[in-house]
């Protein structure tokens, strides 16, 4: 016996509890499975959508794994030369002061080849947001040693581990830029757990809100994994990141309202 059901259309705006933001282009990401880039991309675009500022936002992408970020972010983008994103963003923001501007950079881009551009844009107090993805390795080129590679950490150019006497120390550039008076807000986050994802999104939102006030640089570091470069599974990589990266690069706010935070927040394990 067949019952007669009335067909009800449930796909109504009032019934939607979650949907992917339209500011992400509907195409497959070029990142490895388990990589944090895709999550940060989504958080970034959700923030621009929720603040309704995407029409007045110009993003500057780097050279590195996220070189193709402009293919995924459905906003106007400029692809910079390796390390030069802060210089590119400086001109963009100065010439379009009522627009929102951000750079999206990896550790090799921001903390090695682009150190001068990073330091000086920060020191001038440029009014844009720097999003810094730190995975301690050159992912795009195949896992070479980065400025942020930990002591003893293996990479394709430190196959026996980073030997500090000959290869130098890892650079804590985030702590370094926090010292500069032109920098207003500095935080270090992660995206490996839902709790950390929420915190990262909150930090990004704060960084873009600050642009309205012309307070200077807002610097958001996201410590991320690189399971391909680290030669681990995504699960192993996240565990390794918690055990090794976070003690050296502790999560939490480093500078708030232009003042250094005395005691750093402990790692939030959810």
């Amino acid at each position: 016996m067949e019952e007669q059901f009335e067909k009800i259309e449930i796909r109504k705006p009032e019934n939607i509890v979650y949907k992917k933001t339209d500011l992400l282009v509907d195409r497959p990401l070029s990142y490895c499975p388990g990589c944090g880039h895709g999550t940060v991309h989504r958080m970034l675009m959700e923030v621009l959508e929720e603040m309704n500022i995407y029409e007045k936002t110009i993003g500057v992408s780097p050279v590195g794994c996220s070189v193709l970020a402009y293919d995924f972010l459905n906003i106007d983008m400029i692809g910079a030369a390796h390390g030069r994103a802060p210089a590119v963003a400086t001109a963009v923001k100065r010439l379009w002061p009522d627009h929102f501007v951000f750079t999206y950079q990896g550790d090799g881009d921001l903390a090695a080849i682009g150190t001068a551009e990073t330091i000086h844009a920060c020191n001038r107090g440029e009014n844009f947001t720097i999003i810094f993805i730190n995975n301690g390795i050159y992912g795009m080129t195949g896992g070479q040693m980065a400025p942020t590679t930990l002591p003893g950490m293996r990479s394709s150019t430190s196959p026996y581990g980073r030997d500090v006497p000959t290869m130098g120390h890892p650079l804590k550039i985030t702590e370094l830029v926090a010292q500069l008076p032109g920098v207003h807000f500095v935080t270090r986050q992660a995206v490996h757990t839902p709790g950390n994802v929420r915190k990262t999104k909150k930090a990004l939102r704060k960084a873009f809100e600050l642009q309205k006030e012309n307070k200077g640089v807002a610097f958001v570091e996201v410590v991320s994994n690189c399971n391909s470069g680290w030669k681990m599974t995504p699960v192993q990589a996240n565990k390794w990141m918690e055990e090794h990266m976070f003690p050296f690069y502790p999560l939490g706010d480093i500078k708030v309202d232009g003042k250094l935070v005395e005691k750093k927040e402990m790692v939030d394990k959810e």
Partner: protein
């Protein structure tokens, strides 16, 4: 008739930039061109027209600021001298690849390396043959007077936007530093943001809901795509060759010999032409004003009517290669050059003509 002033070449560049409606200047100090930024900072164009002037941390940063500003459709420029221009090659190559308009002024000094701070033309190859990596050209203008320093800023911006290409003004330390009278063109208002959005429909300056996003990049990982980019650039350079060659001929109608020279060397050759003619030598001067595109047909036409050509350059012989390629080998073509910051005198140029071409 515009305003008449006595100015240095470098100052004329700066004043012309303000008057051309330039939106932003980004630079780094280096002799012999520092007056460009000094003049701008003193003149406060941010108050006069709203133009941004920023002293960057390096030439590398300067050219990438130009890249960024140009990527949003703004009218932007930088200036430097030889060692600084070498540092900019990366950014210039990216601008050429991403097809961005912008003006780069090179007030050339002697090289190689740190070289000297005295005038030179030794950056000809770097300017006209590409300079950075990849198959590209800039459109290169060679002013021979302070007046042209002024005029080429406006012309340079016009051509940069017409062809979406980086344009270089290839000057030298003498033209940058010397004072001459100059007639300044009247102030052109800076374009509004709305005009820029309308006139540069390719630029990344904020995506309205009504259109797709714009991407400024010089990357195409697909070789077939990158070959298409290259073919497009080559077609653009061909169009420039057909439409944008500029040159000047002085006393060439009855000439039996000609000097070919650009920039400051052409000014010296102009005097040398007068001195030689006083001695009864019928010599003329052919002066390329665009070095890329090179006025090949024009120099070939006149070159094949004369008995000999002396290419005078303040380098070891660079433009002579383009003259030889253009004219061919039926006519005797010799080079006379001084380098490392030495400026040849008109007398020695005449002696070189007599020795290398007439008597040779």
């Amino acid at each position: 008739m515009g305003e008449l002033r006595l100015m240095k070449g470098n100052e004329a560049i700066a004043e012309a930039a303000i008057r051309a409606g330039c939106d932003g200047y980004f630079g780094y100090p280096i002799t012999p061109q520092s007056e460009v930024m000094e003049y701008l900072m003193a003149e406060k164009p941010f108050e006069r027209t709203g133009m941004v002037v920023l002293q960057a941390e390096s030439e590398t940063a300067s050219i990438n600021m130009v890249y960024g500003g140009a990527g949003t459709g703004k009218m932007v420029m930088t200036s430097s001298s030889s060692p600084g221009i070498s540092l900019m090659q990366e950014g210039i190559s990216y601008m050429a690849g991403a097809e961005l308009p912008g003006l780069i002024v090179n007030v050339v000094r002697g090289g190689p390396g740190l070289g000297t701070i005295q005038p030179s033309q030794a950056d000809y190859f770097q300017a006209v043959k590409g300079g950075g990596h990849g198959d590209y050209h800039m459109l290169v203008l060679a002013p021979a007077s302070v007046q042209e320093m002024c005029d080429h800023v406006k012309l340079g911006f016009d051509l940069a936007f017409k062809y979406r290409t980086p344009v270089m003004i290839l000057s030298d330390g003498a033209i940058g530093q010397m004072m001459e009278k100059v007639v300044l063109f009247d102030q052109i208002p800076r374009r509004t943001d709305e005009q820029i959005i309308e006139q540069c429909p390719w630029a990344s300056n904020g995506r309205p809901a009504s259109r797709d996003h714009h991407i400024i990049t010089s990357l195409d990982l697909d070789p077939a795509g990158q070959e298409r980019v290259n073919l497009k650039l080559q077609a653009k350079y061909k169009t420039m060759e057909e439409n944008e060659t500029r040159y000047e001929e002085i006393n060439c109608e009855d000439a039996e010999y000609i000097f070919v020279a650009f920039g400051l060397a052409a000014r010296i050759c102009q005097k040398a032409t007068d001195l030689a003619r006083a001695k009864g030598i019928k010599v003329g001067l052919f002066r390329p004003i665009t070095l890329f595109p090179f006025p090949a047909q024009e120099v070939a036409f006149i070159g094949n009517r004369v008995k000999g050509i002396l290419v005078v350059e303040m380098n070891a012989g660079q433009m002579i290669e383009d003259v030889k390629l253009s004219v061919g080998c039926r006519v005797k073509i010799e080079h006379y050059g001084r380098f490392g910051g030495i400026i040849p005198s008109p007398d020695e140029v005449v002696r070189a003509l007599e020795k290398q071409i007439i008597g040779g």
